[in-house]
């Protein structure tokens, strides 16, 4: 069996992340990649797919059920949990931090598994980074709206021009050692009744 023929199964609650891992593996030339979402018949589905390698979210609650299935399987090639070579502490660390767990059928050489695990780790991390960036972008947009609203309120209520209203908020933020958006929140809250 060549590397590319390894039967790889990706189990993930998050279809977006699973898709990223699948795409990465396919781009690396692994042709037999299946993605399943956890479900009530997950154990039976895994049994019928008989994968060589399973990539699964480290904290997936279905892992305990899967391990029971591996233990009673009639197949002699039972998968065991491992992240790659025990001596490769950095990869293990990276896998745990990324939240990646891998099950590998007993007897497969570690060097064959490692690129697959590395790919999963990098895609998990990339997916988390994208999600974080998206969340940050959303919150930055919300912050800007709040600041604009506070500025408008100050201009109307205090008869300030735009520049002066903004400068007043900046001064307050510096004096109180708070973020500009926090000052803006306070202003919006204070004027809430008038809005």
């Amino acid at each position: 069996m060549t590397e590319r023929m390894l039967n790889i199964l990706v189990i993930d609650e998050d279809p977006g992340r699973a898709g990223q891992v699948e795409q990465g593996l396919r781009e690396s030339g692994y042709g037999r990649v299946t993605v399943v979402r956890p479900s009530l018949d997950l154990v039976r589905r895994v049994e019928s797919l008989a994968p060589d390698v399973i990539i699964i979210d480290l904290e997936n609650p279905d892992r305990d059920s899967l391990e029971q299935m591996f233990q009673v399987t009639r197949e002699l090639r039972r998968p065991i949990a491992m992240f790659v070579d025990q001596s490769d502490a950095a990869t293990i660390q990276a896998a745990i931090e990324a939240g990646v767990s891998a099950y590998v059928v007993d007897g497969l050489r570690k060097e064959r598994i490692r690129p697959i695990v590395d790919m999963a780790i990098s895609r998990f991390n990339a997916f988390d980074r994208l999600r974080r960036e998206r969340d940050e972008a959303r919150s930055a947009l919300a912050d800007r709206k709040t600041i604009e609203r506070a500025k408008g309120l100050l201009m109307r209520q205090k008869g300030l021009d735009e520049e002066a209203a903004y400068a007043a908020m900046r001064r307050a933020a510096m004096k109180q050692n708070r973020k500009l958006v926090e000052i803006a929140h306070s202003i919006v809250t204070a004027y809430q009744l008038d809005v």
Partner: protein
């Protein structure tokens, strides 16, 4: 003085009380520790995080440090269990349909003490096998869990083959009641409050408890990597002292309502269920009067936190009995490397708590309360500890005990059906 911060994992269950109390009630702080308590849903995640150093220690099934040290389920990594985290807690619950079938099949077995209930199940299964009905499905929480061994022991006590006459599966505790309600499974063995959830929904009955199968059975332990324990003896001793004090607190009847309130949000279950589990009464089956839970958790009394090496040996015999490890395994060597009563004694002797002198005891040999000697303190009274089938376990003869179960070969589990 700066505190040492330890990352301690736990699975939200009644018996994660000791680590939670140690932090919440200030016992950890008193010993210079700050505990970062991290909940996990799966035992596999707890195991991996401790095994690979993402957690310093965790509340874990007693079988896990033994299994990990032996390389069951993942490559072998030496781990230690220097403390148990209490006694009790588990029960076997079946759906009402099966309960009624068991009562009809063997009214005498179901009318008597719960220890006869497996006989009634065997009668139901014999009839269903003759009719060609599908196998009944029973769930526990992990392949090397106390729950799995108790369920298997209970089934086998009535002559049932857990790997042939029924189908065994694993589910997270919080999904048991729902799975029973939707007939995905016919019964399960799990810690509280996950039997009470089913009882309170009126969809099942408790047919046996840990108290019926083996009252002093091992349950959870504090599990750590051996190399971490070797490098941090003083921190570990401080942790054991904090946990021992937390166990005393958690056992005090006056603290149990507060314990229920501490646990309820962590477990995400109704406070009343936890109050029932910790200090209340309940009808275990339709038509029965309410009674205090026979498997009510004990955190401190009866040397509940002492890591008896004989219990590690017993767990290893069960792993071998069911084909999880070879029958030729070095039981004594593994038990001695993993279960560490010496670390417990070194940390806790002379601190006002009673610590057993012996590392091992005969298991299942007592019909009445009995005494074990304590280090420089009055003897500790332990309750009767009979197994459901009346066997006794002599820890110096694990191989003979194993042979006594009469299952000559268990090469491939699952192949016997």
């Amino acid at each position: 003085m700066a505190k040492t911060t330890l990352r301690i994992g736990y699975v939200p269950l009644l018996d994660c009380a000791i680590p939670l109390v140690a932090e919440a009630e200030g016992f950890a702080a008193r010993h210079g520790l700050a505990l970062e308590l991290l909940p996990e849903i799966s035992w596999a995640a707890i195991r991996d995080k401790v095994a690979f150093g993402a957690l310093e220690g965790a509340h874990m099934l007693a079988g896990i440090p033994l299994a990990v040290s032996l390389g069951v389920g993942l490559p072998a990594i030496p781990m230690v269990a220097p403390m148990a985290l209490g006694l009790g807690g588990n029960a076997i619950t079946v759906g009402l349909g099966l309960f009624r079938a068991m009562r009809a099949a063997d009214p005498a077995a179901m009318a008597g003490p719960r220890r006869d209930s497996a006989r009634a199940l065997a009668a139901v299964i014999a009839r269903e096998q003759a009719e060609g009905a599908p196998k009944r499905r029973f769930a526990s929480v992990f392949p090397v869990s106390s729950h799995a061994y108790e369920l298997r022991y209970w089934l086998a006590s009535a002559g049932l083959d857990p790997d042939g006459d029924v189908e065994l599966t694993v589910l997270p505790p919080s999904r048991m009641a729902e799975s029973l309600g939707t007939s995905q499974i016919d019964g399960y063995c799990v810690g509280e409050p996950w039997s009470l959830v089913t009882l309170s929904a009126g969809i099942g009955a408790v047919v046996a408890t840990k108290a019926d199968i083996w009252p002093l059975a091992p349950e959870k332990v504090l599990g750590l990597r051996t190399d971490w324990a070797d490098r941090n003896p003083e921190v570990l001793a401080a942790l054991l002292r904090a946990f021992a004090e937390a166990a005393v607190w958690a056992d005090a009847p006056e603290n149990r309502p507060a314990l229920a309130r501490l646990l309820a949000p962590r477990l995400g279950v109704d406070l009343r269920l936890l109050e029932t589990a910790l200090c209340g009464s309940v009808a275990l089956a339709p038509g029965r009067p309410a009674e205090p839970l026979p498997h009510r958790p004990v955190f401190h009394a009866a040397a509940a936190t002492f890591p008896w090496r004989s219990q590690a040996l017993w767990l290893l015999t069960q792993m071998a009995r069911w084909g999880q490890i070879p029958r030729e395994s070095d039981f004594a060597g593994v038990a001695a490397a993993v279960y560490r009563p010496d670390l417990y004694r070194a940390a806790l002797s002379g601190g006002g708590l009673s610590v057993p002198v012996a590392d091992l005891k005969p298991e299942g040999a007592h019909d009445a309360p009995y005494e074990v000697a304590a280090v420089e303190r009055p003897a500790i009274i332990l309750p009767p500890d009979r197994f459901i089938d009346g066997r006794t376990f002599d820890p110096s003869e694990p191989t003979a005990y194993l042979a006594g179960f009469g299952r000559g070969e268990v090469a491939v589990p699952g192949a016997s059906g």
